[in-house]
């Protein structure tokens, strides 16, 4: 560390990564260099993670879709159950021609996929993969994720408007209407765990659930009767927020061709695709961190202090999140797409009031606990 600047830990943007890098890199590096290196490294890690995740998730989605419809799904690419299908698709998307319509609004058209993907990437910054495996342990982690993930909508609207295509514009408008109305229940449904943990930090929520030998998850806590319905509300709102079926109206293939990304091809389309799976994973990870004990599982506390602790914690977190991603796919292949008026009715008439009711119950329960046990 340079003598003139305070050490990284005390600097406003300091995090675990900059501390770690500060130990590895030579002393005397200015803080901005450290922060920049940290940013590049964390970007590389998150981007690699999302790329692998998107590939795995597309393969899994097609497998789940196939088996639910009593067929196989991809089988031929790669030796085992078509595992290389996603790789082949990725290569195909990379080498496809990058078409930009002459009638399109070019700056918007080109910027939209970047906005969409970068917001999804940015939200991963606040995800706790393990006790200390977090890029930036924000005090307002949940708030940050909700805020940044709703910026995706801007990208989608830019794509829809910039494409100069009526289907795209319809899709973008639906997205705007849908996301604007489901932001409310999504934010409200997150308030129940926030009230329980007394913190907006996901890392803190994870640490709070490590009791009972790793089983003190929010869904198993004394407030389980609030946790379970609130998770259902959160999950429904998250499905709408990530444009997943049965709320995939922005891209509903049967009526809007492909909605807002109708005119996109090649790598730009791949960006939208990656964003969809990144957003699914993000919502599942938030659900895991708040309701399903984050990285905790029985027996993890026994490994405290060993080398296995951190990798196993990360593995547990990723596995749990992927299970929720699987549930999202399972819902997609079960429930048919609902109409736009039904989407609106569900958001405004059901989810929002029910969330408010749950908040009232959760707040009363905390109050009762405080009075009864003097917590």
């Amino acid at each position: 560390m340079s003598a003139a600047l305070p050490p990284a830990a005390a600097a406003p943007q300091g995090n675990g990564l900059t501390e770690l890098l500060g130990g590895l890199l030579p002393d005397g590096l200015p803080f901005w260099a450290l922060a920049l290196t940290g940013a590049v490294v964390s970007f590389a890690i998150i981007f690699a993670f999302i790329a692998v995740l998107a590939m795995f998730a597309t393969w899994l989605e097609r497998k789940v879709a196939g088996h639910i419809q009593v067929r196989y799904g991809p089988m031929r690419t790669g030796a085992w159950h078509g595992w290389a299908q996603a790789l082949a698709d990725g290569v195909k998307l990379l080498i496809k021609e990058d078409l930009v319509l002459t009638s399109a609004d070019k700056p918007l058209f080109k910027l939209a996929p970047m906005v969409v993907l970068s917001t999804a990437l940015a939200a991963f910054v606040a995800l706790p993969f393990g006790p200390n495996a977090i890029v930036a342990d924000l005090d307002l982690g949940i708030y940050f994720i909700i805020a940044i993930s709703s910026i995706t909508t801007f990208g989608v609207i830019m794509a829809g408007w910039g494409s100069n295509n009526k289907w795209s514009l319809y899709g973008a408008m639906r997205e705007a209407a849908q996301v604007a109305s489901y932001e409310i229940p999504l934010g409200l449904s997150l308030m129940m765990p926030v009230m329980y943990f007394g913190s907006l930090s996901l890392n803190h929520a994870g640490a709070m659930q490590s009791g009972w030998y790793g089983m003190h998850w929010y869904v198993f806590s004394d407030a389980f009767w609030i946790a379970i319905p609130s998770f259902a509300l959160f999950f429904t709102a998250a499905l709408a927020e990530t444009k997943r079926a049965p709320f995939d109206l922005p891209e509903s293939e049967s009526e809007l061709v492909a909605g807002f990304h109708t005119e996109y091809s090649g790598i730009r389309f791949a960006f939208f695709f990656m964003e969809e799976y990144a957003a699914m994973y993000l919502m599942s990870a938030v659900g895991t961190a708040l309701w399903f004990g984050a990285w905790n599982f029985p027996g993890l506390s026994l490994l405290e202090g060993t080398v296995l602790h951190a990798p196993l914690a990360v593995a547990a977190f990723v596995t749990k999140s992927l299970l929720l991603v699987f549930v999202m796919m399972w819902v997609r292949w079960t429930v048919p797409r609902i109409r736009i008026d039904q989407v609106m009715a569900l958001g405004y008439k059901y989810l929002t009031p029910l969330c408010l009711l749950m908040i009232l119950l959760a707040a009363s329960w905390e109050w009762v606990k405080a009075i009864a046990f003097g917590a």
């Binding site: 196939g66 639910i68 009593v70 067929r71 196989y72 399972w330 079960t334 029910l354």
Partner: protein, 194 residues
């Protein structure tokens, strides 16, 4: 003129909580069903590696019992698109096949070639996929003929020998006759020409 009207909202006699309960229950039931299907054995087959058996009446690529075929050309004449072609050498009763081909670029699997066959030796088979990168691969050789067997060769040789012997005998007889006629002398000189 009919005016556009808002379609009446479908009447629902369920209450608010009834709707919530209904949504939760129907989703849960549906997901139970799809979860069961997720683990059932897929109904489909891995097509090019694994093929479902076709029905007996199926009209696929022909198969020919060439040992029975008598090179009568009836099938080739019956074919409306003239896609059957064959060639063979006759050695008395034995046939030495050169080729028997069907051009599957033209064949429409109408089965008309099957009916006229006097020996009932051409059939519609069960093979159906002709996937190839080269058009000339569609000209399929149906020849299952393995070449002349020893027995056939022997019979051909015998037949040939018999023929040669007959010829020789005929020549000999002719020579003898001529000799006899020559001996019978110039009484009728013109008859020697016959």
């Amino acid at each position: 003129m009919a005016t556009l009207q808002e379609p009446a909202a479908p009447a629902s006699d369920r209450s608010y909580w009834g709707n919530v309960w209904h949504a939760v229950k129907s989703t849960a039931v549906g997901m139970g069903i799809t979860f069961r299907y997720l683990w059932t054995k897929p109904f489909t087959t891995q097509y090019p590696d694994e093929r479902l058996p076709v029905d007996g009446r199926y009209r696929g690529i022909h198969y020919l019992e060439q040992d029975l075929c008598i090179y009568c050309q009836a099938c080739a004449k019956a074919c409306p698109v003239d896609c059957i072609d064959m060639g063979a050498q006759r050695h008395g009763k034995e046939l030495e096949w050169e080729f028997f081909s069907i051009d599957y670029q033209k064949c429409m699997f109408c089965e008309l070639c099957v009916y006229p066959c006097p020996k009932d030796c051409i059939h519609m088979g069960e093979q159906y996929s002709l996937v190839t990168e080269d058009k000339s691969d569609f000209l399929l050789e149906l020849t299952s003929w393995q070449g002349l067997t020893e027995e056939q060769k022997l019979r051909i040789a015998e037949a040939e020998a018999a023929k040669a012997a007959k010829k020789a005998a005929a020549a000999k007889a002719k020579a003898a006759k001529e000799a006899a006629e020559a001996a019978a002398e110039p009484a009728e000189p013109e008859e020697g020409k016959e």
